[in-house]
């Protein structure tokens, strides 16, 4: 945060504080415009949004604090907001309040004033308040609070200039003569204790900058973070007695008054709020149902609610995943062109062994393209989510589904991440994990983060299709049903397991959530959020994926071919070249084709063939022809012999043969390289373990390399189960033939399917897990745990299935219905357990009271 401290002399630092759903972020956008950045607060996963604008008098740095209902230290957001206000002491704090719900909003205002912060009150959502029939006497409110009050409508961009003016005026006033606002609340019977504690802390220079009255009040409310501040600033020798005093005061107060300090504090504040509002705010509830009430009567109706929910989920899925995926067929050519461009810049290919700079460069471009290919999907997806969030329906989704999800340790708000991850078939875990951000319960949030990757992401589908095509031709639809519904069963069971074990100690918070009024989302708001989140995805995921792509590249390429096998390939390559030279000995194109031109010519030939293959339609084909003719007019007759030119035709035939020989050699080299590579050795080294699941080293290598990106599993299998040139079989047929020859059955396929369904998230997702959990420990866990789980399940199914002589489909049915039965059992048991625990807790509370 030093960027503000250093600029504090020329600029003004403004913090925006407010409750959730008060439109704080919208107002922040209005205030700062496009110039803003998102970062994390140090050490935590809470977003820190900051931006700046300039008015006549200079620059104003603006920070958007996380939305909080109050400033206790119970939740992470509140701790972050409070620390910022205490440590940075912003020149002006803008308190954004929901004008239609002042009674609740002003509680936070009072707490800001107790922190002795110069404050401007922004009465936001004035339009909603007015349409609800609420009239607010701004002047009276400003007078009673002793604060500047500005009316704004963030969604419509209204009130920007008056707010900026009020901020500047307050900053100027403070700069001239710093004055803290007077304490807004008197706490009656608690006052003597407050005064005594202030007397104890006032002389301590170590506490400079900490408002003493506020500190006293926090200590009396037993606030853990405030006690820590005391401890840290004064050391335990000085802090100990003060805390001891506070403890005595609390005991004395509670036994005398028969009420807890924090209840007393809230009650006192509420009385002050009532006095503030009395006469200054007129209207409110006239008893007539609001628009929101009327919509909810339908949308949350017991019978209609599931229908609306399914329709919404289906709409998101259809628009973003299905249509978005179709859109990528239009955007892919641009990425392919980018690859061609870069391929042209990189050092050109040799006859057999390319320079590393070329192969690594292309490898990186391919990795990046795999990610960028999803950008259209994300843009649509994030826009759809923004619409649902802004409209207020997201909270309703949580309301409808919380019961089921909560039973398995998840949360009502886990719905969206699971949908994005691909509950049916086809999603992406990266936005799924990103969307867990809003879940307020840490334990449920972590459980969601760790189970989203079990959903069927788009990239798992090719492998499923491949395996179903080989082994389950007659049971295809039944298997598809199993696969697409199995993942949610597994996810719920795993969530429950994790909640009961490793996540046990995580913070939980109650499901107490506002159901905000419905709003019509604005186009600019939706677009802004969509672009913002997509950009975050590209930034955060992109850099790390590239870094790890380098590592995987090394694992697949090192140690490389041995000297003698390399010599063998060279020899065969030279033989092919010699054959070509012999064929052209008497040819008029001899000088064009031989010598230094040979390698460029073969490259030219392969480029031309690929370009022709990619060109769709006669016009595009014509363009390719023209392009290659201008690129090298000398070579062109050799790749497209003119009619009647017999020499050219003969040279073309020889060239084609040479190119084919080169391709075969290169493929054999690649296969040998992978076989002897570090990754290949790892794959072989794992065979003793994976044999129980039926996996040989080839499958191991494919599964390992799919960690970089799921899509590559099928591609790697394609390389490993390669065909000879005279064969023309699909990968399905080749793999089927080869694995059957090795005694494999549908059982192996089931084993692979199960492993792949439970397999660790891809690299991009694990990065997102790191971002969202803020720890490498959880990132590592998200990789290791599913590996063992997947391997365990696959091994059990394969070994037991083999022993029992079960067919693939029988094994799959058994696994599916077994898991389903377990799900029902766990669901019913946890219901009874929860009931028992609650009764115990309540009787305990009753005894205390």
């Amino acid at each position: 945060m030093s960027e503000h401290a250093s600029s504090g002399h020329q600029g003004v630092l403004v913090a925006l504080a407010g409750q959730q759903n008060a439109g704080k972020s919208t107002l922040f956008n209005v205030l700062t415009g496009a110039r803003q950045h998102v970062a994390n607060y140090p050490g935590v996963t809470v977003d820190k949004k900051y931006g700046q604008y300039a008015d006549d008098a200079g620059t104003v740095h603006t920070v958007d604090l996380p939305g909080t209902y109050s400033l206790t230290s119970f939740s992470l957001e509140e701790r972050v907001a409070r620390e910022f206000l205490l440590d940075e002491r912003p020149d002006v704090t803008v308190n954004v309040v929901d004008a239609s719900n002042l009674r609740r909003s002003l509680h936070l205002t009072l707490q800001l004033l107790e922190l002795e912060l110069p404050t401007v009150l922004a009465l936001n959502m004035m339009d909603v308040a007015e349409s609800n029939g609420v009239r607010i006497d701004k002047t009276a409110l400003a007078e009673r609070l002793g604060l500047p009050v500005v009316a704004t409508v963030g969604r419509k961009g209204e009130g920007r200039e008056p707010l900026r003016a009020a901020i500047r005026a307050e900053a100027t006033r403070q700069a001239a003569a710093p004055t803290a606002p007077p304490p807004p609340v008197r706490y009656g019977a608690l006052e003597p204790a407050i005064v005594q504690l202030i007397a104890r802390t006032a002389p301590q220079a170590g506490l400079d900058g900490v408002p003493r009255r506020w500190l006293a009040l926090q200590l009396l409310q037993g606030d853990a973070a405030a006690a820590q501040v005391l401890e840290k600033r004064l050391g335990s020798e000085l802090a100990g007695p003060i805390r001891e005093d506070a403890r005595r005061f609390i005991e004395a107060f509670e036994s005398a008054e028969g009420i807890e300090v924090s209840d007393h504090v809230v009650a006192c504040r509420d009385r002050v709020v009532e006095t503030l509002l009395d006469g200054a705010v007129i209207g409110a509830d006239d008893g007539r149902p609001s628009v929101t009430d009327r919509i909810d009567r339908v949308v949350l109706n017991r019978w209609a609610a599931p229908l609306f929910l399914v329709a919404t989920v289906f709409a998101i899925y259809q628009v973003s995943i299905v249509w978005g995926y179709e859109l990528t067929t239009y955007t892919w050519p641009f990425l392919a062109k980018l690859r061609e461009l870069i391929a042209g810049v990189l050092p050109s290919a040799n006859f057999l062994v390319d320079p590393y700079s070329r192969s690594l460069g292309l490898w990186l471009v391919d990795s990046a393209n795999t990610l960028l290919n999803y950008v259209p999907i994300f843009l649509i997806l994030f826009a759809a989510i923004a619409i649902i969030e802004d409209s207020g329906y997201m909270a309703r989704i949580a309301f409808i589904l919380d019961k089921i999800l909560h039973r398995f340790g998840l949360h009502g708000q886990s719905t969206l991440p699971l949908i994005l991850g691909g509950v049916f078939a086809g999603g992406c875990a990266v936005p799924g994990v990103m969307a867990t951000k809003g879940i307020p319960d840490t334990r449920a949030r972590f459980a969601t983060i760790l189970t989203v990757p079990f959903m069927n992401c788009l990239a798992k589908v090719p492998l499923y299709t491949l395996l179903l095509g080989i082994f389950f031709v007659e049971h295809k639809s039944l298997m598809m049903f199993y696969i697409s519904t199995m993942t949610i069963i597994f996810a719920l069971l795993v969530a429950k397991l994790l909640t009961k074990t490793v996540l046990r100690g995580q913070e939980t918070s109650p499901f107490v959530m506002e159901l905000p009024q419905y709003h019509l989302p604005t186009v600019s708001g939706v677009l802004r959020r969509s672009f913002e989140r997509t950009w975050q995805y590209i930034q955060k995921v992109g850099t790390v994926v590239l870094a790890v792509a380098v590592v995987v590249f090394a694992l697949l390429h090192l140690p490389g071919l041995s000297a003698e096998s390399k010599a063998g390939y060279e020899e065969r390559g030279q033989a092919a070249v010699a054959q070509f030279e012999a064929a052209l000995a008497e040819n008029s194109y001899r000088d064009v084709a031989l010598g230094d031109n040979l390698v460029p010519l073969v490259n030219y030939f392969t480029d031309y063939k690929r370009a022709k293959l990619n060109a769709a339609g006669a016009a595009a084909s014509q363009r390719v022809a023209e392009k290659f003719e201008t690129r090298n007019p000398d070579f062109y007759p050799l790749v497209k012999p003119p009619a009647g030119d017999r020499d050219a035709k003969r040279a073309w035939g020889a060239l084609r043969k040479l190119a084919a020989a080169r391709q075969t050699l290169r493929r054999e080299m690649r296969e040998e390289r992978i076989t002897t590579s570090i990754l290949g050795s790892i794959g072989r080294g794992l065979e003793p373990v994976t044999q129980f699941a039926g996996f040989d080293w080839k499958i191991n290598v494919a599964l390992l390399s799919s960690f970089a990106a799921r899509e590559s599993s099928v591609a790697t299998l394609g390389v490993l189960f390669q065909q000879d040139d005279d064969q023309n079989a699909t990968l399905e047929e080749r793999m089927g033939a080869e694995t059957r020859a090795g005694g494999a059955t549908g059982l192996l396929a089931v084993s692979m399917l199960l492993f792949f369904a439970l397999y660790p998230p891809c690299l991009a997702t694990t990065i997102m897990v790191k971002v969202q959990t803020g720890s490498y420990k959880w990132m590592l866990f998200s990789i290791v745990f599913p590996t063992f789980l997947g391997l365990g399940v696959a091994s059990a199914v394969y070994s037991i299935g083999t022993a029992a002589g079960a067919s693939g489909i029988t094994a799959m049915s058994a696994v599916y219905w077994g898991a389903f039965a377990l799900l029902l059992l766990v669901g019913l048991l946890s219901e009874r357990q929860a009931g028992r625990r609650l009764r115990a807790r309540l009787s305990q509370a009753g005894a205390d009271a």
Binding site: R103, D263, F399, G412, P510, A834
Partner: protein, 80 residues
């Protein structure tokens, strides 16, 4: 002892006190479920849990488990 969990949809009651502590209690207070406040139970979710209650100017949903920790006064039938 009557809790918010026992109130049928449409019922209007006054909050007497909270039996919960710590973060749960703070959260309930923050969202306006303060002692002495009037609340109306609007509906329960399609699967019966959580419930939705209407306060002065906002609607809040909470699980029955939390609703059971809020002691309320006898139903006020004068206004629904």
């Amino acid at each position: 002892m009557k809790t918010l969990n026992d109130v049928q949809p449409g019922g209007r009651v006054r909050i007497r006190r909270h039996l919960s502590t710590g973060a749960v209690r703070q959260r309930l207070l923050d969202l306006g479920l303060m002692p002495n406040v009037l609340v109306t139970v609007v509906r329960s979710a399609p699967l019966n849990d959580p419930i939705e209650v209407k306060l002065d100017a906002s609607n809040v949903s909470l699980r029955r488990r939390e609703a059971r920790t809020i002691e309320v006064s006898a139903e006020e039938t004068d206004h629904v």
